[in-house]
Structure formats: C-alpha cells, structure tokens
C-alpha cells in the first residue's frame, strides 16, 4: 500500500482511540463531580482537564471550573484545537484519505458517527445532554471497531490500524495513571484515605476498568493493586502490558508482510526484554512517574520509527 495511505490508516485509529478515551475521561469526571460537593467537583474538573492535556488552554479562557464549561471546552470549543469534534473530523478526514484501504462498512460507521456527533455538538451541550453525547461518542467508536473486526481485510492496512489503536491506548492509560498518581499521590502516605479511594475509582472509570478490577480484587482498592492491574495485568485490554503486547504482535505482522524488520521492531523488542521480568515492586521502587515517562517516550519513538520504516511521509 501507499506510505501516505498507511499514514492515513494509522492516524485514523489513533484519533479514534483518542476520541474514545476523552469520552471515557469525561464520563468519569461527570460521575465524580455529581457525587461530590462543589469544591471537590471543581478539583475534579481541573484534574480532568489536566489529564486531557488541556488545562493551560482552558484556564486562559475560563477563570473558574464548572462542569458545563469544562465539557463544552473539551467537546466543542473552537478555542480548543484538540476538541472532540475536531478530533473526530481528523478520524473522518483520514478515513477519506485512506478510503480505498478500508472497508465500506468501516467508512460508513465512521461517517455516520461523525454526522451524529457533529449534529449533537452543533450547539452548546447542556447538563441534560452530556450523557447522551458521551454515549454516542463511545458507541461510534465501538461500531467502528466492530466493522474492523467483521469486514477489514487482514492485510497491512489492518495492522497499521491496530498498531495506531494500541499505541494510542497505551499512551492514554499511561497518561491517566501518571497525572493522577503524580498529582494526587505525591507520597504513599495518603494510601487508604477516602479521598484516595475516590480518585483511584476515577482512574478505573476513566479506562472503563472499574468492573474488571472489582471482579479480580473482590472490591479491594489500593494503590499497589491498581498499578499492578493497569500496568502489568495482560488480561485487561487497556493495561500497558496488554496494549504493549498487541502493539508488538501487529508490528511483527507488518514485518512479516513486508519481508523485513524495521527500527520499530527493534525498539519494541528492547522494551519487551525490559518488561518481561518486571514486577510491581520494581515499578514502585523505580518510581511510577519515572517508569511511565520512559514508557511514553518509548511509545513516541516507536511511532516515529513506524513512520520512517514504512515511508509515511517521504
């Protein structure tokens, strides 16, 4: 396939994942804000904005944190270059670019999702609608993934798309974990407090992992269990270990299709060696923040290696 088309498929799925993760983040923020008093709700929205990487932009525009302001900024504000509407447009534009590398059903799922979201976000989103908006965004992403599963040829385009998905997902989980941990738990002394438990619950909801975690841990929430679950548990589809292994498999498939390995395979192999024997103790000893920084830096290196190896741009 064309390098430019491969780039289109890769970014289609990165943006799709980003949109979906933002919807999860909002959903968690909304739920937390609704169950808290006003002061902590404000804290909560500030933290959502921080995790979304949009705090500076938001505070330039607004002096205060309210739910309506916050979710409108994230969803549709023209002053926010990374609002959900623009990101979904990015999904659709890349799908148009790569139109002849994806199935008709995937294109229609994306196009229909975009039409619905564009309509819903054509005016400010009020308290009564935000739930529906979030649900629509998540459903659109789910439909697209379903179309991929059922209709996309398992050729290079598929592997580029999956690589984009898992790279972005790993990044998102790492970012959520990093910001929450660093912001809210500078030391382990708070572990076990009620505020702490609430924040951890927020994290789990942000990655739609609250149910899974409870099943596995019989309802016990603590920092150590959480980190183990989100970093090392390869049964959970949004954990770093799971995304990492899926990314590795898809990059290996690309190497097979192309008959040669690239720089991206080399980087992920190195990462694999380091991760194989990793334990939760080792992560905490190294410092979770340092570990996550290393992890996201490596993701960035893999992303640019993919672009080089497969001639995305030149």
């Amino acid at each position: 396939m064309l390098g430019r088309t491969a780039n289109g498929v890769f970014w289609l799925f990165r943006y799709l994942e980003r949109v979906e993760n933002t919807a999860r983040l909002l959903d968690a923020g909304l739920r937390m804000a609704l169950t808290r008093d006003i002061v902590t709700a404000e804290e909560e929205w500030r933290s959502v904005m921080e995790t979304a990487g949009q705090r500076a932009g938001y505070e330039t525009k607004h002096g205060t944190y309210t739910g309506v302001q916050a979710w409108n900024y994230i969803l549709r504000d023209n002053d926010n270059p990374a609002n959900v509407l623009k990101m979904f447009e990015g999904v659709r534009t890349n799908a148009r670019l790569a139109r002849n590398a994806i199935s008709g059903e995937l294109w229609e799922a994306i196009n229909e999702g975009w039409m619905q979201i564009e309509e819903l976000l054509s005016r400010p989103v009020g308290q009564g609608e935000v739930g529906e908006v979030i649900a629509t965004i998540r459903r659109a992403a789910t439909l697209a993934h379903g179309a991929v599963d059922g209709t996309l040829l398992r050729n290079a385009a598929y592997y580029f798309g999956r690589a984009g998905t898992f790279l972005e997902r790993a990044d998102s989980t790492a970012r959520i974990l990093d910001i929450k941990y660093y912001l809210l738990l500078p030391s382990f002394s708070h572990v076990g407090s009620s505020l702490d438990t609430g924040q951890w619950e927020h994290i789990l909801r942000s990655v739609s992992g609250d149910r899974a975690y409870r099943w596995l841990n019989a309802g016990n929430i603590d920092a150590r269990g959480m980190v183990e679950f989100l970093v090392l548990d390869d049964r959970f589809p949004r954990s770093l270990a799971f995304c990492h292994s899926a990314l590795r498999d898809n990059l290996a498939a690309l190497a097979r299709v192309h008959g040669r390995e690239g720089q991206c395979n080399e980087i992920i192999r190195q990462a694999d060696i380091e991760l194989t024997d990793l334990t939760i103790d080792a992560v905490l000893e190294q410092g979770l923040h340092q570990f996550l920084q290393q992890f996201t830096n490596r993701n960035a290196a893999i992303s640019s290696a993919i672009a080089d190896d497969y001639r995305f741009l030149a």
Partner: protein
C-alpha cells in the same frame, strides 16, 4: 388522468407520457408499478434516499463556501428510461463520434490532414489553450487519446437526439451513475424484478480492463493502474476514491509519485514501485511542473519525459482537452465525416461561431433567444441564457461579445425533453440531459448502458449542472 401527475408545458417532449396522458413505451412497466403504490410511498422513500447518500458520503465539494463544504447532489427517485432500440441508435452514433474524436486527435498532433484539406481553419489551434505542442509527433500507447469520454446528449422529440458537448478531457459523474443505481435497487428491489433493466455495476471492472489494455509496451506482468487525484479537497474526490476502490487500484496524489530510472513510481510501504497506467484526474497544466505550471504541487516532475519515452500511459492523454473546446465542437459534423467517411449519426446542436462576422451579427441581433457559451468554459460557468436574462445582462453580454467574439459560441435555446421528477404535489416534468460514459482501448469502444441523467430541479429551468443546483436520476436502458 393518472394520480398525482402534472402534465406541465406541452411544448416540450415528455419522455414518460404523451400530452393525452398515455404512457410512452419506455415507461410502460414503470408506470404500472407506480400506479400500484400507496400514497405517500415515494415521499417516505425520499428521506430514506437522502439518508443513504449522506451515510455513504456521496458528496461533492463546493469551492468558495466555507472551505469546500460538502454537499449532496439532489437525487430524484423516478428513473429516466430508454428503450433497447433507442439505446442501440445512440450507441451507434456515440461509437462513430468517439472513433472520429480519436482519429482527429491523432491527426491534429501529426500531419493535420484535416487542415491541409481545408476542412478546419488553422486558427482554431492557435487560440486553443488545451493544445499541447509537447504532444506533436508523439503517439500515445495503443494510439488512444480519449480513454474515457462523456458525450452529453439532449433530446427534443421521440427520435431527435443531439450532442450538446463532448467531454474528452476528464468527464466526471460516473460514480453517481453507479450509486444512483445502487440506491434505486436497495429502495425498490421489487421494481427491478418487474422491469428488465441492463446493469451498470460492472463499469469499474470495464474501466480497469480498458485502462490495462492501454498499458505501455514497457509493462512487465499485470499492468499496475493508479488513479491520480488532486486530494480530498477536490470537488470530485469522492469519485476518485470510489473508482480506485472499485477497480482495486491505488489512489495516488502527486506527492506519492516520483520518476525513478525512467519509470513513474509510487511510494509504497515496500518502497517505490512502478506504475504502468495513470488515470489522472488533474488537468494538463498541473501534470508536470517541469513541463507546465512550475508552481503546481499536484503533479509529478518529469512525468512527461517518461510518457514520451513510452514508460507510462496517461489517461486521458495530455492535450485531449482540445476536443472539449466549443469551437471545435461546432466543427464536429465535418470532423466525423472527414475521418469516418460517413454522415454523423448524432447531429450537433446548431451553433453560431461568434468569431465569424455573419454569425456574430446574428447572435447580437437575437441574443434574447440564444444561449451563449464561452469556448473554453465548462460546468455552466460564464454562460448566458438569453430568455432568462434581463436587459442589463443582455447589454453586458453584447459588450463581451463585441470585445472578444472568438471566445464565444451561441446556440438556440433547445426545447429540451422533460422527465417527471417526484415533488410534494406529485410527479412533475423537468428538463433533462444525458451523459453516457464511453471507454476506448485498442480492443474497441465500450459504452455502459445508461449514463448520468442530469435534471433541472426547478420548474422551467434549463440548467442541469450540479454546480448550479441540478440533480441526477438513475438512467435505465431496458433489455430487449
């Protein structure tokens, strides 16, 4: 009188019903089916059709408004129907015309016998912006100039078809022909079991085959075909992507291509791989910045050199736009006769060339009854429709004509036939034209049965161009 049927103006030929309300042969089966449907049936289907078009993203971009806004072309659910014998007549005429066009192109870029014979004035090329000196003495692979042609036809009576325009450069709209049929079949499946309609869905396969048959001699193995698009902001991007997808060809932009070792190669994830045939949807001017417009980023530097050395087929051939020129059009009867030795089977619309003083005088005197077009214009831009113009507009155009008569031709306002469209108050007649799609290769001329019927959505309007608010219909050619 049948339910919901508005007869409209009797001075135009109505393709569905005669003035007394009786159904014409082409529409017999359709009319029977239609009369059996419940009230409100089509109205419900209308919303369904629009939804289907939006969902599949069948849109065209409109320039100048909000950064290439995407729009739907209005789709009408009543088919335009031609009988098998009408179609046979049309295809004979089209085939003759397309063969003449190719012979003409070859002649123009070689010995110019037609000019030596005094049948065509030399000045036509001097003033023709589409004329390419680079093509002189060069024969494209397989001798084909116009690989894909759209012949615009209009009808004025049961047996009166005229050619309105030849689109030999880059005829667009074929994706609408295909999607209109898909939409009709999904909305009215039972209708197709009752009316025998010839299929159009194999057009992409025929196109791929026809293009591959024109691959250069240098090709090794199965010819590799690519569609060259200016990109997602081009008004016809949907069509480019659709055709590439349907043909299983790559959809490339100029930046994906590079000249390597005397071949045009595309940048794939495996490295650069040669292309044999390029179905280009960019204009000549933008094809090669080394030869033409140096500012263009849409093309491929050096592609013309590869072309002239026989390393690639460009479809349609550069310089083919000469045939789209309306001054050339006015000579088509002579051109057909000169190269085929036969009388044209499909006549031209009567045309006055304003470059000729007598004609100019006539046009100036009768402007209010005429349609005046720019010689190089397309898409309904820069034209005057006399009967619809006010006196200021007429005066302004008179000045333009006097200042630059060579830039214009004039034609009578034709009594274009009408087909019914579906409106809120029932079926109502609207003017239509027809663009059949023609493929040319060394193996012959291949015409898909049907084409794109364009329809003026407004009562009385003669403007059917999509860029001017016209709509489209599915076009049916009946089986024998």
């Amino acid at each position: 009188m049948p339910r919901g049927f508005i007869i409209g103006d009797n001075s135009f030929f109505n393709e569905m019903r005669n003035a007394d309300g009786s159904v014409r042969p082409a529409y017999e089966d359709y009319a029977t089916w239609f009369d059996e449907q419940e009230d409100g049936f089509l109205a419900r289907k209308g919303a369904e059709a629009e939804g289907a078009f939006r969902k599949t993203g069948i849109t065209f971009n409109v320039y100048g408004e909000d950064e290439a806004e995407e729009r739907l072309i209005p789709f009408d659910m009543v088919p335009r129907v031609l009988t098998a014998s009408e179609w046979r007549r049309l295809t004979r005429g089209i085939e003759q015309r397309v063969k003449a066009l190719n012979a003409f192109m070859y002649d123009l870029y070689h010995r110019q016998e037609i000019i030596r014979a005094g049948r065509l004035p030399q000045r036509l090329f001097r003033n023709n912006e589409a004329w390419l000196p680079n093509m002189v003495g060069f024969t494209p692979p397989g001798g084909v100039y116009t690989h894909i042609v759209g012949i615009d036809l209009v009808r004025t009576g049961p047996d009166e078809f005229y050619v309105l325009e030849d689109n030999a450069r880059t005829p667009s709209g074929v994706s609408y022909m295909l999607e209109n049929r898909e939409t009709m079949m999904s909305m009215f499946p039972e209708l197709f079991t009752r009316v025998g309609v010839r299929p159009v869905s194999d057009y992409p396969r025929r196109l791929a085959k026809s293009l591959a048959a024109c691959a250069p001699d240098m090709t090794t193995g199965k010819p590799r075909v690519a569609v060259l698009t200016p990109g997602i902001y081009n008004s016809a991007y949907y069509e480019h992507a659709f055709l590439a997808d349907q043909m299983g060809a790559e959809l490339v932009e100029g930046s994906d291509l590079r000249v390597i070792d005397g071949r045009v190669a595309m940048r794939t994830t495996h490295g650069f791989q040669p292309v044999d045939v390029i179905y280009r949807r960019v204009d000549d001017d933008f094809l090669d910045p080394l030869t033409f417009n140096p500012d263009s980023a849409l093309g491929v530097p050096g592609i013309m050199d590869v072309y002239r050395a026989g390393g690639i087929t460009i479809a349609n051939a550069p310089g083919t736009g000469v045939c789209d020129d309306k001054a050339i059009y006015s000579f088509m009867p002579e051109i057909v006769e000169f190269y085929t030795g036969e009388k044209p089977l499909l006549p031209n619309v009567q045309t006055w060339r304003c470059a000729e003083p007598d004609s100019l005088a006539y046009v100036l005197d009768n402007l209010a009854e005429l349609v005046v077009k720019e010689v190089h214009g397309s898409g309904g831009y820069g034209m005057l429709i006399g009967p619809a113009a006010n006196s200021d507009e007429l005066d302004a155009f008179r000045r333009k004509l006097r200042d630059n008569p060579e830039n214009y031709i004039a034609q009578p306002t034709l009594a274009l036939s009408t087909c019914p469209i579906f409106t809120e108050s029932g079926l109502a007649p609207r003017h239509v034209d027809l663009r059949p799609y023609v493929l040319v290769s060394p193996n012959g001329v291949d015409i898909t049965p049907g084409g794109l019927t364009r329809v003026a959505m407004e009562d009385g309007s003669l403007v059917v161009n999509s860029s001017q608010g016209g709509g489209t219909k599915d076009t049916w050619v009946l089986k024998d």
